[in-house]
């Protein structure tokens, strides 16, 4: 069955390196080099020995086809594998053959021809303790090696490798016919001009002849010395398969690799030459091994914060996700990837950089939905954000057309976070839009991203249904977006709503710039949701340049835009990861940032990175160091925004209910609450509950009252002191997810 493009099975992580495919022995060069790089000559020699069978012969004869495949050949010279193999052999602690402690197999196998291919096959089968008989028509070992190497080199290597194995060697015996040979399997390796006993190659398996149990290979099949030895080593597997399972269908050898390597990533480094002109010293060998690129596809892990943090490739992630969403036990134990699934920022960079377009983020989002549907996702991870969304779509929401207009060409959709950051971002922008398009409608609500990221399809669909209805009632206007995430989410689920970015309109219409910053250098930080929006990326740069900024590029931007850490709302589920992402992002550019997502702006500013929102520059609102509002202030800002727009644009006196409690919270404590995802309105509810029920605990040493109350799932604790004027001084507050089963 043909797989969908971008399936995880297409991942190139395990594709062989170019050199390995070119090598007749398919030596795992990455593994060999890794050992050489750390000076593990003995281990490297074992890898080499296991691959080639006769190391001295192969080192002497190998024409190094790997060199033609090595990407380093274009940047300093191909890796000198032969010199490295020599070094491994020279500096290995122990070059004795391995003694295999395996019981005798009680199966007789025959090899016809004692050339390099036949001997290689004999060696492997003898190591596996088959009863091996080698027939050779001449009186000597080595076959065609006598024409290409001095006998002392190859004979000593053959003797050494067979040192611990027993083989029945029958010299001066020419086999005229296979009839009457009583063996479980036979390898015909009679050399370049040898007999094939009238057998043809069978296409159904490697080395298979048309006669079951008889295999053909080596120079008989037109192979050179290296390929002949490699064939001898490999045919032993085909013969064993036949003996055990009866099939001749041994798989063919690897013939290619789908690996691709971005040449731009390769920095030049010259070949290390042996100082004595012949062989490497240990240090030279380690240096040369260090030049190896160990070619593999790791684009995702290099670019994706999540894969780098967890040190996991997509295949491994897919496996862990599978056992997490389909755990093997009834109580759901073994859900190993819950935290990983909940940590993805859903920025899409993994798919962008993957040569196979594998969407690992999409896999994680689908898994998140499955977990959510099963009730297996801890509620705490998205509880705050879903309640925040409910507030934005409830008390703070608004959908209005300007008075006197029956339909609208444009609908301003600022999103719920822009006004929460600073209500003026929305009021000033809306005023600009009304100046140019007086029928522009306004919608204050959430796009549904929190529900999307929480995997809560029901909540997302409900929010979008309402949004769609309002849009339809307004005459299906074109949406004016300020937030790339809103644009992305609505584009995904309500593609019928056409959209444009506020910044494009500002650029088109021109605006008198209150903030001019001639010569100030800054970097535009593209929000991850702008990845597929080159137009807005360019518009914001044009606006910044018009304002006098010199723009310095960031290492990754545009198509490779990265997440500020807000995406996926992972900060509750995985605080250390979110902090790591922010710290990484703000360190990537030395200049202040300009963003066009208020979440990026506020997160960077909270972490100490000067950052403007492009509207700060266009509308002359704030400097780059403005401290972002706390979570409580954000909620209040949304309500303030709603009241202000009703007053200014609809001449209605908005109701901004008096706070139900006069709660005194120091700025420091307010920030602490915000950092711990606690709202002061929740704290007021807890104090109210304590005061009403009288369930309070007095600390006589401080005069503080302690009390607690559960709101939905969360349990909140307060430490407070009532004041004589009826207000309450909050001294501390904290919460926990665990529920107290009180009597």
């Amino acid at each position: 069955m043909k797989r969908a493009p971008g399936a995880i099975e297409d991942c190139l992580q395990n594709e062989p390196a170019f050199c390995r495919v070119a090598c007749p022995f398919h030596l795992d060069v990455r593994d060999f080099i890794e050992k050489m790089q750390r000076g593990g000559f003995n281990a490297a020699y074992r890898t080499y020995l296991n691959a080639v069978g006769f190391p001295a012969i192969v080192t002497a004869l190998c024409p190094e086809p790997c060199q033609g495949a090595c990407p380093r050949r274009l940047s300093g010279g191909a890796i000198s594998m032969k010199l490295l193999e020599q070094a491994a052999t020279t500096y290995a602690r122990n070059t004795d053959p391995v003694r295999y402690n395996v019981p005798a197999k009680q199966k007789k196998v025959a090899i016809i021809g004692a050339g390099p291919s036949g001997l290689a096959c004999a060696l492997r089968l003898a190591e596996r303790k088959y009863d091996v008989t080698v027939f050779e028509k001449s009186g000597r070992l080595g076959g065609h090696l006598h024409q290409v190497l001095p006998p002392e080199i190859f004979l000593s290597d053959i003797e050494r490798q067979f040192d611990r194995e027993k083989v029945e060697l029958t010299l001066n015996t020419e086999i005229g016919s296979l009839t009457g040979l009583d063996f479980a399997a036979i390898y015909v390796a009679t050399g370049a001009n040898g007999t094939d006993f009238g057998l043809a190659q069978e296409k159904g398996g490697a080395f298979a002849s048309t006669r079951p149990g008889v295999f053909l290979g080596g120079s008989l099949r037109g192979k050179d010395s290296m390929q002949a030895i490699a064939a001898g080593l490999r045919v032993s597997g085909a013969m064993e398969r036949f003996i055990k399972a009866g099939g001749m269908n041994h798989p063919d050898e690897m013939t290619g690799t789908r690996l691709e390597l971005g040449a731009s990533l390769v920095a030049s480094a010259d070949t290390v030459r042996p100082s004595n002109g012949e062989a490497y010293t240990r240090d030279e060998a380690v240096l040369e091994a260090g030049r190896c690129l160990q070619c593999s596809c790791d684009a995702c892990v290099r670019f994706c914060d999540l894969m780098r943090y967890f040190k996991k490739f997509p295949r491994r992630i897919a496996e862990e996700v599978e056992i997490t969403i389909h755990p093997g036990t009834l109580d759901g134990n073994g859900t190993v990837a819950t935290r990983l699934i909940s940590s993805c920022n859903h920025c899409g960079l993994c798919q962008q950089v993957c040569p196979q377009r594998i969407d690992t983020g999409g896999l994680l989002l689908a898994a998140h939905r499955t977990m959510r549907e099963k009730g297996a996702m801890p509620w705490a991870f998205h509880d705050f954000f879903l309640r925040d969304m409910a507030s934005a779509n409830g008390e703070a929401s608004l959908a209005r057309r300007p008075t006197g207009h029956e339909t609208s060409r444009y609908l301003f959709f600022p999103g719920c976070q822009l006004g929460a950051s600073d209500p003026r971002y929305v009021t000033e922008s809306y005023r600009f839009l009304l100046e140019h398009w007086p029928d522009t409608a306004l919608m204050l609500c959430c796009c549904g991203a929190p529900a999307e990221w929480a995997g809560d399809e029901a909540v997302r669909a409900q929010a979008m249904a309402r949004l769609r209805q309002d849009w339809s009632d307004f005459g299906k206007p074109k949406a004016v977006f300020a937030c790339p995430s809103c644009r992305q989410i609505l584009g995904r689920h309500l593609p019928e709503i056409e959209g444009v970015f506020l910044y494009d309109l500002i650029l088109q219409q021109g605006i008198t710039l209150p903030l001019c910053a001639p010569g100030t250098t800054a970097s535009v930080f593209d929000p991850c949701a702008s990845r597929e929006e080159p137009g807005v990326q360019q518009a914001v740069r044009a606006l910044a340049e018009k304002a006098g900024f010199e723009l310095a590029p960031l290492p990754l931007e545009g198509k490779l835009a990265q997440c500020c850490s807000f995406g996926g709302q992972v900060a509750v589920a995985h605080p250390p990861y979110a902090h790591r992402v922010v710290a990484t992002r703000i360190a990537e550019g030395g200049h202040p940032y300009i963003s066009y997502c208020s979440n990026c702006r506020d997160i960077f500013a909270r972490a100490g990175k000067p950052c403007w929102h492009i509207l700060d520059i266009q509308l002359g609102l704030n400097g780059p160091d403005r401290a972002p509002p706390t979570l409580t202030e954000r909620r209040i800002n949304r309500l303030v925004l709603k009241r202000r727009v009703l007053e200014e644009f609809w001449k209605e006196v908005g109701e901004m209910g008096k706070p139900r409690m006069d709660l005194i919270v120091s700025a420091e404590l307010g920030q602490k609450l915000s950092d711990e995802w606690i709202l002061e309105t929740e704290i007021a509810t807890v104090i109210e509950a304590c005061e009403k029920s009288g369930r309070r605990i007095l600390d006589p040493a401080t005069g503080s009252f302690f009390g607690h109350h559960q709101i939905d799932h969360m349990t909140y604790w307060v430490e407070y002191a009532p004041r004589s004027d009826g207000s309450f001084e909050l001294r501390n507050a904290y919460g926990h997810r665990m529920r107290i089963e009180e009597r």
């Binding site: 935290r339 007095l698 006589p700 302690f706 501390n732 089963e741």
Partner: protein, 64 residues
């Protein structure tokens, strides 16, 4: 030691003392000794406990 401080239940005017208290999270139940009013059963969890052991157990259960 935070456990050493005397805390008074305002309802019962009694000093809290450690008693077995049950907790649940994500379908798992367990118990530990928590300062509790011997009269009405009102409990007290200090911030150190909430941020320390309780938070650790929460994480373990989320990752289980």
């Amino acid at each position: 030691m935070p456990e050493q401080r005397v805390l008074i239940c305002q309802q019962c005017q009694k000093a809290l003392e450690p008693r077995k208290t049950d907790f649940t999270y994500l379908g798992h139940s367990f118990f530990t000794d928590i300062l509790t009013c011997p009269g009405c059963g009102q409990v007290f969890i200090p911030e150190e406990l909430a941020k320390g052991r309780i938070s650790e157990v929460e994480k373990q259960l989320e990752d289980k």
